[in-house]
């Protein structure tokens, strides 16, 4: 499968995503420069973590206007697969390719740690390789990961199964203590209505090698690879 990892000014985990896809998984992955409009015929676009444009004003607010985002929006509209991790998730929300918004963690401080996530919908192209209720171990590292959306919208998202990952404890139970940033309904990852765009605060690309803290992240990328059109 052909993957494109977008590099914005201030992207940080672009290299990590490339490493996970190309070096670890042996996929055909390349960097896409934010000033280009061509997507080079890739089948899945990855918006990586980082602090695009310094995340000034609001996270992802400025990156959303990078030239390449027009093409990404069109690619998504045509049903192409797009995954945004961390800053990528924030950009997708700002670009209205995903519902809701991400704001300051409840603690107001940056948090870097491994968390547990429960798979709430295993039939999306991004979670196919998992089972409903599976508990994944992935790292988070962000200062603005508190997921917010209007209540009525949240309700609809839940009904449609767009809420794909939730923060839980080691035993898969929801609890306030297991919610690292205060996200509404402990939401860690959401898909759009068409289920071809997916955003999550955790970093699957940082959980692909046993020596570096587990391989649960592979399940996300394997799901996508298995969903190639």
């Amino acid at each position: 499968m052909k993957w494109g990892v977008v590099r914005f000014p201030g992207s940080l985990d672009d290299g990590d995503a490339l490493h996970a896809l190309a070096d670890v998984m042996g996929q055909d992955a390349r960097i896409l420069w934010h000033k280009d409009e061509s997507l080079g015929g890739v089948e899945c676009i990855v918006l990586p973590g980082g602090f695009s444009y310094g995340d000034y004003l609001r996270t992802g607010a400025i990156a959303r206007f990078s030239p390449i985002m027009k093409s990404v929006a069109k690619f998504a509209a045509d049903g192409g697969l797009v995954i945004g991790t961390c800053n990528g998730f924030q950009i997708l929300c700002e670009a209205h390719l995903l519902p809701g918004a991400l704001t300051r963690n409840r603690s107001l401080s940056f948090v870097c740690e491994r968390v547990w996530l429960r798979v709430e919908n295993a039939s999306t192209p991004f979670t196919r390789a998992t089972k409903l209720g599976d508990v994944l171990r992935l790292p988070i590292k962000h200062g603005e990961g508190l997921y917010i959306a209007p209540e009525d919208e949240l309700r609809q998202m839940e009904e449609r199964g767009q809420v794909t990952l939730r923060y839980v404890d080691a035993d898969g139970r929801e609890s306030d203590a297991a919610n690292p940033n205060g996200s509404m309904r402990a939401i860690a990852g959401v898909a759009n209505e068409r289920f071809n765009v997916f955003g999550l605060m955790p970093h699957p690309e940082h959980a692909v090698e046993p020596m570096l803290g587990g391989t649960d992240g592979l399940k996300i990328f394997q799901s996508i690879a298995g969903s190639a059109r």
Partner: protein, 81 residues
């Protein structure tokens, strides 16, 4: 022409920063404080002929970039109004 933009967290949308500031104010002994909200205050110069022209520009900027309608409200003042 100077424009002052006020961006505030939507009522009903949670404002972690406001909450945190409120509780630290309380713990600093300001017991009589409540309803703390933290928003943004953006000032800028628009080189426009008329105030109404500046207003139109300002509105466009707010909708395009300065505020996120999902979680924020905005209002602005243009100099000499």
């Amino acid at each position: 022409m100077q424009v002052r933009v006020f961006v505030t967290p939507r009522t009903g949308i949670l404002d972690p920063q406001g909450r945190a500031v409120e509780s630290s104010l309380q713990s600093l002994g300001f017991k009589n404080v409540s309803r703390v909200k933290v928003g943004k205050y953006i000032t800028l110069e628009i080189d426009a002929r008329t105030a109404s022209e500046a207003r139109d520009e300002a509105k466009k900027m707010c909708e395009a970039l300065l505020a996120n309608p999902v979680i924020e409200d905005y209002r602005f003042e243009v100099d000499g109004e």
